[in-house]
């Protein structure tokens, strides 16, 4: 929902950043806003509707924006080791002031920018090792981009960071290709493998419901043991919805 009368956020307490600060309040704002935009974009990419294929155009545009931010962040300089930011760090829920991000690059060039962050790459560190079922890659918690406060700034090899980032973006599109953009969210969210095995899940649920006339479901293998039911941590409302559609169709 569009919030009317958007208030400008004040970043007075957050200038304890290493390096030179020309004393302009706007400088950390730009970086924080950029980070906020990046986080927002990532959340958007993962918040795909479970049941309907999300808009490919929207996903592509958001992913391009993310890439753009990442490129600029890389160009800005090296990743620096910075201690945990104060609690004033912008969390995802707070929409930072729109003003600076909407300004043209010419206006921004007039301000000195100090690069000072690199949490993003940390999230994908853990991902690479995990095995994935079929085409989807499960991912470690998405909490990191959400809780900037708790994140530890690490000194990383910039190349590695870029590689990790690129790899994750690639994963997004791979999953777009292989299954559906639905699985983009799989990249980031904390999930259980069996959650994705809709077949197993559905048949597990189906065994409890009467369904004489669903042709499509005949292709499913017979329900596995009750273990599948217990593994279903998913949102049961959505499952009910699927069941409803299947039964009615």
């Amino acid at each position: 929902m569009f919030v009317r009368g958007l208030k400008r956020k004040c970043f007075d307490g957050e200038e304890d950043i290493e390096g030179t600060l020309a004393g302009i309040k706007a400088i950390p704002s730009y970086n924080l806003q950029r980070q906020s935009l990046l986080d927002m974009s990532l959340v958007k990419l993962q918040l795909c509707h479970m049941l309907v294929e999300p808009n490919l155009c929207r996903s592509v545009l958001i992913a391009n924006t993310v890439r753009q931010i990442q490129e600029e962040m890389t160009q800005d300089g090296t990743w620096q080791m910075i201690n945990t930011q104060s609690t004033g760090q912008a969390s995802l829920d707070r929409l930072v002031s729109t003003d600076i991000l909407c300004r043209s690059s010419r206006e921004q060039a007039e301000e000195k920018l100090v690069p000072n962050y690199g949490t993003f790459n940390k999230d994908f560190e853990g991902d690479q090792g995990q095995d994935s079922s079929e085409t989807m890659s499960t991912a470690s918690s998405v909490q990191a981009p959400r809780n900037l406060q708790g994140s530890v700034w690490e000194m990383e090899n910039p190349q590695e960071n870029k590689g990790n980032f690129q790899k994750s973006l690639d994963q997004i599109f791979e999953t777009l290709e292989n299954k559906s953009p639905n699985s983009v969210e799989d990249l980031f969210s904390e999930v259980d493998n069996s959650y994705y095995d809709l077949d197993t899940m559905l048949t597990g649920m189906m065994s409890n419901t009467k369904m004489g006339h669903c042709d499509g479901l005949e292709t499913f293998s017979s329900p596995t043991s009750t273990a599948s039911n217990s593994n279903c941590k998913s949102d049961l409302n959505e499952l009910d919805h699927i069941v409803e559609i299947l039964v009615e169709s």
């Binding site: 806003q33 155009c57 924006t65 729109t98 991000l101 690059s105 599109f173 559906s180």
Partner: protein, 420 residues
């Protein structure tokens, strides 16, 4: 009433079709002008309603296929019946709408109430006669063009040969023959071999109104490609490439998103085309590829709000645009139920509102103005007060008269020029 997702006049303007999110199509017909009531200049009343698409479930991907009607396009009328194409994300259907105002009476084998007569009892034969009945409008699906699109269909366009049409999804464009449903030709494919490299999608496509070998398609990067089907079977190489060079001084993180073209329409005379991106409408001369000949700002005051509009997803809204019959005026929608008209000759623009409060029947619409800063004058509305849930995405202009149809969420408004 459901949210209207497409609005389209037919070639004569006598019929107006709307499609909605629930998969229904409602067709309005213009009443004949009545000499005894000179002020009733042909009102539109409901002519036919039918369920065009139903929700489906893709078992392979475990995903729903929405029944929302993305586009309706009429075919030119060739006999007493009317034909239109309607499409959802995956399937295009050809519908025949026909009238029945007579019924046969006096059958030999069945009674008037339909019961079968005992053949033994029939002593003589008679010829059934046609008797008038109340007008009944029937809609029946004549063709179903399915299983040709992996991605979501965003456009359909009937060719000027009236025998073929194109359908475009995010990555491909297919050419169909209206009579053949089990085959279509792929004429554009921009899907990269490696989906990781995907950075651009097709957003709209349309056939040239006169040249049956020419069509255009727009992209999410703000470019338009004109293709000639005579040059090769697969039109991956364009004949013309339209792109306005970016102003480097106004570049921001949102530049690409707001440059994404949401609609492209040829002018009726076929010399120009119009594109709609998030903040502006541009008119292009087909003979000039490097920049548009006219640019109109729809709601420039939103440029400083792009971050908020990105957050609430409004920045991805796809507005349509349309020409009037003479190609002298263009129209497009905005937020707060505002819609804008630009007169290409006088360069005057108008902002009007489609809402119950401001449009009592026969009342003249008052021009609206958005205050962009500083003191707000009386009757102006400030940017922060705009309702971004009230968006006018779909508008249509009568092919010959100054009569417009404006879809505001789940309401349809019809406005016409004041009668002198």
């Amino acid at each position: 009433a459901d949210i209207i997702s497409t609005v389209e006049f037919n070639y004569s303007g006598d019929l107006l079709a709307t499609g909605d999110k629930g998969g229904r199509v409602v067709i309005f017909q213009r009443e004949q002008e009545n000499k005894s009531r000179p002020f009733s200049r042909g009102e539109y009343n409901v002519y036919s309603t039918f369920q065009s698409h139903e929700p489906e479930f893709d078992y392979l991907k475990s995903l729903e296929i929405e029944e929302k009607i993305n586009k309706i396009r009429w075919l030119p009328q060739q006999n007493a019946a009317h034909f239109l194409l309607s499409t959802n994300d995956k399937t295009i259907k050809l519908w025949k709408i026909s009238e029945r105002d007579k019924r046969a009476e006096g059958y030999n084998l069945k009674d008037e109430d339909g019961r079968l007569r005992d053949p033994v009892r029939i002593k003589e034969l008679r010829v059934p006669t046609l008797k008038p009945m109340d007008l009944m409008v029937e809609a029946s699906p004549r063709r179903i063009f399915a299983n040709a699109h992996t991605y979501h269909i965003n456009s359909i366009s009937v060719n000027s040969d009236y025998a073929t049409y194109l359908s475009a999804d995010d990555l491909r464009i297919n050419l169909w023959h209206l009579e053949i449903t089990n085959r279509s030709f792929n004429i554009v494919d921009i899907k990269p071999a490696n989906m990781e490299e995907l950075t651009e999608v097709i957003t709209a496509a349309e056939f040239h109104p006169q040249q049956c070998n020419v069509f255009v398609y727009s992209s999410s990067k703000g470019t338009i490609r004109l293709c000639d089907m005579r040059s090769s079977a697969l039109c991956d190489r364009h004949s013309k490439f339209f792109e306005e060079p970016e102003d480097p001084s106004s570049r921001s993180f949102f530049s690409e998103i707001i440059s994404s073209i949401s609609d492209v329409k040829f002018s009726h005379n076929g010399r120009y085309m119009m594109t709609r991106d998030y903040l502006s409408v541009k008119v292009w001369d087909l003979n000039m590829e490097n920049r548009p000949v006219e640019t109109y700002q729809v709601h420039e005051y939103l440029r400083s709000k792009l971050c908020s509009l990105y957050e609430n997803d409004c920045i991805f809204d796809k507005f349509e645009c349309c020409w009037n019959g003479l190609d002298s005026t263009i129209m497009t929608g905005s937020y707060n139920n505002f819609f804008r008209m630009f007169d290409r000759n006088t360069r005057r623009d108008t902002t009007l509102e489609a809402s119950r409060e401001s449009s009592k029947s026969r009342a003249i619409l008052k021009p609206r103005k958005v205050c962009t800063g500083g003191k707000r004058k009386k009757d102006e509305i400030s940017v922060d007060s705009l309702d971004f849930n009230k968006k006018i995405l779909h508008t249509a202009w009568h092919p010959t008269e100054n009569l417009i149809a404006v879809a505001a969420t789940n309401n349809l408004y019809l406005f016409q020029d004041k009668v002198n």
